[in-house]
């Protein structure tokens, strides 16, 4: 751990990840958060991007509250070692007190290398950030599988590194900011130890255990055909459809889609159960789900004991209305 001269370090640097010239959405989220923190510290926000094809980047960030945007052009499409060298140089020049990096695949490979390069602290996957009375960054994240929260400080080293996953922070909203200065540099940085041989676009994973949002069909679903409506809801929400054992028993859903003790254990961000009563066996498969919304006509259903948002109602009335609302919004 290297003790830094705290006064020498100020400002917040956001690493902006780009792929094929497009800024990753987490960039705007981190800039938004950086701005919020910067107001408390009365300091500036900088952004840095590295890679080939950066022509459009300044346009995509034109409305951001950045003092300066650094664009480091390299030959190499992303490799941690090359980007590390570039960003290290940027940090040495700017001496930001805080560096925020998106918790993407790229970011999570880059961040620890940078933190070690400066022998400073890194907290990964922060769920919120604050500033304490002394102007230090308070880094908050879950630990032990999400059952406790930890509040962490990097008191003596600089910069204070933090990674944040996409979808956690509020992105920058349009506002009247001073025009940012764009600094473009061609970097002749390579590393022969690493060669990218190929890059192929891929489809996202489909299994119910991969989904962040799950709609779950239970015994309350009366006919096999009614599952179509639930499937549509799941699709509109950007998630998947799963079921309790009852419907798998009936042959309406496949065993791979079953949740429960003799099926899959899932832990999506959101789960909407429709007509699921909540047997012990079912609930054993959903313990780590963060938000359970349960729809059932029986107010004494077992599932209401663990649902975060228990809704006593008829899925046949509620689901069509949800679909209607979602479809309307998408046309606004």
């Amino acid at each position: 751990m290297k003790k830094a001269n705290i006064e020498e370090w100020s400002g917040i640097l956001v690493y902006v990840e780009c792929r094929k010239g497009k800024v990753h959405p987490v960039g705007r989220e981190l800039i938004g958060e950086a701005w919020r923190l910067a107001e408390k510290l009365k300091t500036s926000v900088y952004a840095a991007a590295a890679g080939a094809r950066l022509d459009d980047v300044s346009g995509q960030l034109a409305d951001c509250p950045l003092e300066q945007l650094y664009l480091f052009e390299t030959e190499d499409e992303y490799t941690p070692v090359v980007y590390e060298k570039i960003i290290t140089g940027c940090i040495e020049m700017l001496k930001p007190a805080i560096v925020l990096i998106g918790g993407t695949h790229e970011g999570r490979a880059l961040a620890p290398r940078l933190a070690v390069a400066f022998e400073s602290g890194l907290t990964a996957d922060c769920t919120s950030l604050e500033i304490d009375e002394e102007g230090n960054l308070i880094q908050i994240r879950p630990a032990f599988g999400g059952n406790v929260m930890a509040s962490i400080l990097t008191a003596q080293s600089r910069p204070q590194f933090a990674t944040v996953r996409a979808g956690i922070m509020e992105p920058v909203t349009a506002g009247h900011f001073q025009k940012m200065a764009v600094v473009r540099r061609r970097m002749n940085v390579t590393d022969e130890r690493v060669r990218i041989l190929g890059m192929k676009e891929t489809e996202r994973g489909d299994s119910i255990t991969d989904q962040k949002i799950l709609v779950v069909a239970g015994r309350g679903v009366r006919k096999k055909g009614d599952l179509e409506m639930l499937r549509e809801l799941a699709k509109l929400l950007g998630g998947g459809l799963a079921s309790s054992r009852a419907l798998v028993e009936k042959g309406w859903m496949s065993p791979g889609e079953q949740i429960g003790l003799s099926g899959n254990t899932v832990s999506p961000q959101y789960m909407i159960t429709c007509g699921v009563s909540g047997t012990v066996q079912f609930m054993a498969g959903i313990k780590q789900t963060k938000n359970i919304i349960a729809i059932n006509t029986d107010s004494r259903s077992r599932i209401f004991e663990i649902a975060h948002y228990p809704v006593c109602g008829d899925l046949y009335e509620i689901v069509p209305k949800m679909i209607e609302r979602l479809k309307c919004k998408s046309f606004e």
Partner: protein, 276 residues
């Protein structure tokens, strides 16, 4: 052990692979005393981090196609020895327990530094393998930090080792929307994705013979840097200010709404989902 290299590389010898493995509490549901915020670890079983088993599996598979010796490193208290015993039961060759009071309380920075010192003290390794993350701590950053301390390139969350030779390794890994194949020259570090390296079951024969193997212990005196200030809590750059229970939704009485109002209510709960 004399500080310095125990197994310096000789040319033409078998490949030396280091695998970093950690012992963690079995139950990810941390039991916490809500009044004091202290974690109640008593009675919790200690097991090998499942992600690290995948790293060991990756090493064992490589050993099937290339002459290699697998050294497992684990940093922890003396009971972490069971990690090495389990590794022997799967086929690891040597086990190193990095154990010293000075190492306790380390964050990502100090942990990766300690691992680097320990690995260097034992020898020149061609390849270092790590699991993607741990079930306690969960930060997935030690592997990258270790690679930087050792000044070697690294690839994280590798799903396949396409080819391995004495000079280089070809790997495949998934980024958010793409699959990448890359080639890295050795020495380098690779962290692996759990689901692509399903660990083999320990064999009875190896489990029994593994009980008789010697576990080597590395204390601070075996390392080149013996300055306690660089390790453990003092060597850490981050400190935990406090631990507190997560915001838990209290048990709610079921709300009764008609179709449309219920739909509105539910959709409003999906606040951070990009619905539109």
């Amino acid at each position: 052990m004399e500080p310095g290299k125990h197994f310096p590389r000789e040319s033409g010898s078998s490949m030396k692979i280091a695998v970093c493995m950690k012992q963690v509490p079995a139950v990810s549901e941390g039991n916490m005393d809500p009044k004091t915020g202290v974690l109640l670890r008593a009675g919790m079983e200690a097991i090998v981090n499942v992600y690290d088993l995948a790293a060991l599996e990756a090493a064992l598979r490589m050993k099937e196609s290339i002459d290699a010796s697998i050294h497992v490193f684990t940093m922890g208290p003396s009971k972490a020895e069971s990690v090495l015993r389990e590794a022997f039961a799967m086929g690891a060759d040597e086990g190193w327990l990095i154990c010293d009071k000075a190492f306790a309380g380390a964050d990502v920075l100090a942990t990766s530094y300690t691992l680097m010192q320990a690995i260097r003290a034992v020898g020149d390794f061609d390849l270092i393998l790590c699991g993607k993350q741990t079930t306690d701590g969960d930060t997935a950053q030690v592997s990258g930090g270790l690679a930087r301390w050792m000044d070697i390139p690294h690839a994280n969350w590798v799903t396949e080792v396409i080819n391995i030779s004495h000079k280089e390794i070809n790997v495949r890994y998934n980024m958010e929307n793409s699959t990448v194949t890359a080639s890295m020259s050795l020495p380098c570090l690779v962290s692996v994705e759990k689901d692509f390296f399903i660990p083999r079951m320990p064999s009875l024969k190896l489990k029994i013979s593994g009980k008789k193997k010697t576990v080597h212990v590395l204390t601070i005196e075996d390392l080149e840097d013996q300055d306690k200030k660089h390790y453990g809590l003092s060597g850490s750059a981050t400190k935990v200010r406090k631990i507190f229970p997560p915001p838990r939704t209290k048990h709610q009485e079921p709300v009764t709404f008609d179709g449309d109002k219920a739909a509105e209510y539910i959709l409003s709960q999906l606040s951070d989902v990009n619905l539109f």
